[in-house]
């Protein structure tokens, strides 16, 4: 009797979770199938009609996308923004994190508390002043400008994460290295960075996704020649219906990269997002 009831309830649980899974999958399937349909088809019927006439699907939208200079340029801009913004954050935060954890300098504790406080500062508050500053420095509307802004707002979390991770290293390990006469730079590159690899990986993935997916910062700081994919697509959203043959495949391309990163580095990804959620 109990077993029957348990079997029944586990059946219900399974059914419920399958339903939730379908609900989660459907919008994504909608984007995917819409990206393979002509704009005429999208204007006249729903994407689920493809199941009755799969022959109408084609990759024409994607090949048109490849020939669309604005989109390909924006794709490369996204790469040119995300990669340096990730590398710079990792390098600068690793250097600073090591110093905050193991080197001695005046005001170390107080400065680090400021960094902790900066964790939750919303980017919105920086938009206007930094725009003025970049205007004076000639960085406004350029890729380096966008990168610098992302680096600055990625740093508090990055420094916080790496400092805490480095601080967990056994003291004896570092002292032994210092005894052997290693310079700080040598210790940093040969010991600290390798030991910190898991944290650095999580940080890099988190930061990469953050920048790759950003729209707000680039919306302000990039111009038409330096804008990433998100901004390029956003500019076409007003005529949503008539641009669907660009928007749907464009959005799919923009989400494929992070989703591949997600499946390739699941563990680091989840850890990075979890740690970064304090942001």
């Amino acid at each position: 009797m109990n077993a029957v009831r348990r079997g029944l309830s586990s059946g219900l649980v399974q059914a419920f979770l399958v339903l939730i899974g379908l609900v989660w999958l459907t919008p994504l399937a909608g984007l995917f199938f819409s990206s393979l349909r002509s704009s005429q088809d999208s204007a006249s019927s729903g994407w689920w009609t493809v199941f009755s006439s799969p022959g109408r699907l084609s990759f024409d939208n994607y090949s048109a996308l490849l020939k669309n200079a604005g989109i390909t340029q924006a794709f490369w801009n996204t790469v040119l923004i995300s990669v340096p913004a990730t590398v710079l954050v990792v390098v600068l935060a690793a250097l600073a994190g090591y110093a905050f954890a193991w080197l001695d300098f005046p005001g170390r504790e107080a400065v680090f508390l400021v960094v902790v406080a900066l964790l939750v500062v919303p980017v919105q508050i920086g938009l206007l002043p930094v725009a003025k500053l970049f205007g004076q420095l000639g960085l406004f509307g350029t890729i380096p400008g966008v990168v610098l802004f992302h680096v600055a707002y990625g740093l508090p979390f990055a420094v916080f994460l790496l400092r805490n991770y480095f601080a967990e290293m056994p003291k004896e390990m570092l002292e032994a290295a210092r005894m052997d006469g290693g310079s700080e730079w040598r210790i940093f590159t040969r010991l600290v960075l390798p030991v910190g690899r898991p944290a650095i990986a999580s940080l890099a993935i988190f930061q990469f996704l953050w920048v790759w997916n950003d729209m707000l910062v680039a919306l302000l700081f990039a111009d038409s020649s330096s804008q990433p994919l998100t901004v390029q697509l956003q500019s076409q959203i007003r005529q949503f219906g008539s641009n669907i043959d660009v928007l749907a495949p464009g959005a799919f391309v923009s989400l494929v990269v992070p989703v591949v990163v997600f499946f390739a580095f699941q563990r680091h990804f989840v850890q990075g997002v979890m740690a970064g959620s304090v942001k």
């Binding site: 110093a99 964790l119 500053l133 997916n213 707000l216």
Partner: protein, 453 residues
Amino acid sequence: MTATLVKETSPPRIGAVERARRSRRRARIIALLFVFPALLLLGALVVYPVLFSVGRSFFDASGTRFVGGENYTEMFRDPATLKAVRNTAIWVVVAPALLTGLGLILAVLVEKVRWATAFKLLLFMPMAVSFLAAGIIFRLAYDEDPNKGVLNAAVVGVHDAFKGTSEYPTARAREGQGLKAGADGSYRTSGSVSPGKSVALGLVGVAPKDLPGGARPAYGAAHRQAAADEVRGVVYLDFTPGGGGKQGKVDPRESGLPQMKVEAVRDDGTTAASTTTAADGSFRFTGLKSGSYTVELPGSNFAQPYQGVSWLGPMLVTPAIIGAYLWIWTGFAMVLIGAGLATLPRDALEAARMDGANEWQIFRRITVPLLAPVLTVVFVTLVINVMKVFDLVYIIAPGPVQEDATVLATQMWLVSFGGGNNQGLGSALGVLLLLLVVPAMVFNVRRFRRSQR
């Protein structure tokens, strides 16, 4: 002894002190070199802008006149900004609570199935997707046309399954040919009918291609005689394909209208009998008492098809965008709560089970209280994130309803850069956003200091 020792070792020691001091200074310089690049960027692009914005928020739009707290009072006077404050409040009240609840339920349930990992991966995946892509995904899903938007297709499907569809939304009667329209969209015979009579009710406005599949000509049925206690008739399409028919007459090639609801109504308005027409449009009411009746085609035959819900209309746009937000963040809540669940003491749960507690009691009395710290962290994290929501609102809300959906972050953008061009008010909104996260800031700093002791 000590003195001699000092004396003996003092010359080399002075050198050592000097060397130690020098090496300490060197170490400090190295340390500063390590932190300098990060601190320079943080100072120039984060700390300075915060101070600048705070200062700027006390000046007017052009930045020339000091206005004190005027921008801050303006925020609650200007209807658009006030709307943003209200919407942000709705977001903060609704989204984190829903997400934490849903995350908790799913985290508990998913442990009971074997494919938990696959499920977690699927639900977590939207965290990798940009708000822009998610916005486009949900613009598609929320499309108002039930033929295009999957959500409305589902809603209409469910609605029609329960309420039924009307067969003839376009049909109407010609003026002055025996039928008069009621206020509720129904048609009834203009004269009264008594048992033993037959009626022919002609309608137009149905395209031949819209006729139900099995519809047959009404000619034969129209000429059948009614018995003394019955009223017979046909409902037909008074239109001969290719022309040639006569208006108001059942011509040989004219089709009956099947599945039409028909009622016989007494003079006092009560319904005596009701039926549905056959494939040739015929109907009959048997066993009627003598008297006079009118034959009525109820309005439900002609109701406009149900079009679903206007998700992105002014009323529902904020709940709709919150729905998209749930799609993105539920996996996050579930995984974080699931991690907390894994650390719960197994024996407490087992002991409760042994004592005969059912799953619900265990959930209520043990799981939830023990998970409270984790739930708080999830909730607070979500509150902070929700307050800054921007892209999703900016993308999903169509132009005309943008102002109904606006939140603090989008309003700040619109006021500062998107045509508002009031950088004083824009800065004040930025500062408000900052003030809202100050509790989280204090919390972070406190927690960090505690962890260092």
